[in-house]
Amino acid sequence: MHTNIDKRRIVRIEETISETPTVKTLVFKDDLSYTAKPGQFLMIWIPRIEEIPMSVMINSKDGYAAVTIRKSGIGSTALFNRKKGDLIGLRGPYGNKFVLKKSYQNILIIGGGTGLVPLLRLASYACKKKIKATIVLGARTKREVFFEKIARKITEKSDSTFLVCTDDGSYGIKGTTVSMMSSLIRENIFDCVFTCGPELMMKGVVGLATENSIPVQASLERYMKCGIGICGSCCLDSLLVCQDGTVFNGRQLSKILDFGISYRDKDGQKINYA
């Protein structure tokens, strides 16, 4: 039945943080978003333009949350262009969450770009629970590295570590997240790998974790109309990213034929990843 998460809240953007020339974080006050679980998403209404699913970014202030947008389509560009004081609508948070089992002591977190959003929330929870987290942020090049400050802040008072790698070696360690993961799992024993980012990157991370019998969880992204299990736009085989996800484990992902292969367009046709 109707729950209060479905109720649309109109919030004012209280702060904007420019992460890169094409990535921006918008901060707002909303209790439901503040307490969102890592992996959950909001449906963000940009009045008279679009409504798009966005993972919930953490913010240091009590009662506050944020979204981090990379401008690409009409909706994300419109949201990117919103300024301090502008109004946006929210419903949610929807979806399941990354699961931190009580037995976990040492976890590996691998994010690409804005995929780090749910992972920072996860890392923050993990550090509070005294779980050691190794966070790897991957980017193509130095200009695309962001969230470094917040990630360092999360990890500074724990024995967790934060590593940056770039494809071209212009910042941090040279290499992809998957090659970083490959060397990290040789030297450490991780209880679980958590990942979010471009789907082909996640496919690589999930594949490597599975080959090495390490439990893995990935938060997936799909085009959505409703966010609540009605429209079917976000289906991966028989699973719905909005209702059954966004987080899927390695066992589920090994059976999903669409994972890393295809997604559905606005008209519902299957499109292959290039």
Binding site: G75, G232, D267
Partner: protein, 308 residues
């Protein structure tokens, strides 16, 4: 009838169509993926109506397209987004056993005949013609409000297929019973009633309509009494099987529609709060009701309200 079916006392007949139970997926909900249809079948669904398919792919309207209004009611103007006849026939090409009814939408007879010729090669139970979508111009309700257009389209589909045809009617400017009569006279085998009702929602803070299309269709709890009334009137005055639709969220709603005269009942918006497992839950509860009432088959209750 398959007597090995453990739910045999829930089975219903819609003319030539046999369903293992009266629960169906309403058109427009989750209706584009064969894998999802298989999952719904595992959840014990009786039959599945696909999203409305058009000749060409349609992207639909920009978001917001679906709004939860609270109280189990929803507003949508998706804009009939669908992958089009070619991609969708490929999607269903491996279907063997899933009981699928394809919903068709179009604006000319030619479009309908083209689609039926392609879909008739698949393993499907039949068609539902959507003549009642309330928010897309030159399609749906704009056709449904024109009895002559309804007559021509249904006749065209009839000429091109021997598969059963249901016509989905809504509450427009033509009396729903009259519209159903025109559809049946033109060769439809049954009627699905009702579609969503034209409706609107405005945000008071921004003072803006929420749906990108401004106006959409209301579904869920709010429309159930209207659906019950339409099913009652159509089934009382006309001979054909009626499929009830509108605001069904529990076994009680299914039973209420059947007592009003429905031979099967479609379920849609409630999936926004329950997910696909609602079908398994409802069929279990229907079975309990049938046993409690001492019925040999659930179809014994169809149209009992006509006596009063």
């Amino acid at each position: 009838m398959n007597t090995n079916d453990k739910n045999h006392n829930l089975s219903v007949e819609l003319g030539k169509i046999h369903l293992r139970n009266p629960t169906m997926l309403a058109s427009g909900i989750l209706g584009i993926s064969q894998s999802i249809f298989e999952r719904l079948y595992h959840e014990n669904i009786g039959g599945i109506v696909t999203k409305s398919i058009s000749v060409n792919p349609m992207k639909g309207y920009p978001n917001p397209t679906v709004i939860p209004l609270g109280g189990g009611s929803y507003l949508n103007a998706v804009g009939l987004s669908n992958p089009g006849v070619n991609a969708f026939s490929k999607e269903l090409s491996q279907n063997k056993t899933i009981p699928i009814i394809i919903s068709l939408v179009g604006s000319s007879e030619k479009e309908f005949s083209k689609m039926v010729k392609i879909f008739d090669t698949l393993n499907i139970l039949g068609y539902e013609i959507n003549l009642s979508c309330p928010h897309v111009s030159k399609m749906g309700m704009e056709v449904g409000d024109d009895p002559e257009a309804v007559n021509k389209i249904v006749k065209t589909v009839r000429m091109n297929t021997t598969n059963p045809i249901s016509v989905k009617v809504g509450v427009g400017s033509i009396d729903v019973v009259e519209l159903a009569r025109v559809a049946l006279d033109a060769g439809a085998n049954m009627i699905t009633a009702i579609n969503t009702l034209r409706a609107m929602s405005i945000d008071v803070e921004t003072m803006m309509p929420i749906l990108s299309n401004r106006i959409g269709g209301l579904s869920g709890n709010a429309i159930k009494p209207i659906g019950i009334r339409c099913v009652y009137e159509i089934s009382k005055k006309l001979e054909a099987p009626v499929i009830g639709c509108g605001g069904v969220s529990s076994w009680k709603d299914v039973i209420e529609y059947m007592i009003a005269g429905a031979s099967a009942v479609q379920i849609g918006s409630v999936l926004g709060s329950t997910g696909p497992r609602i079908f398994n839950q409802i069929t279990k509860e229907l079975k309990n009701y049938v046993e409690k009432k001492g019925l040999r088959n659930i179809s014994e209750i169809i149209g009992i309200a006509h006596k009063y």
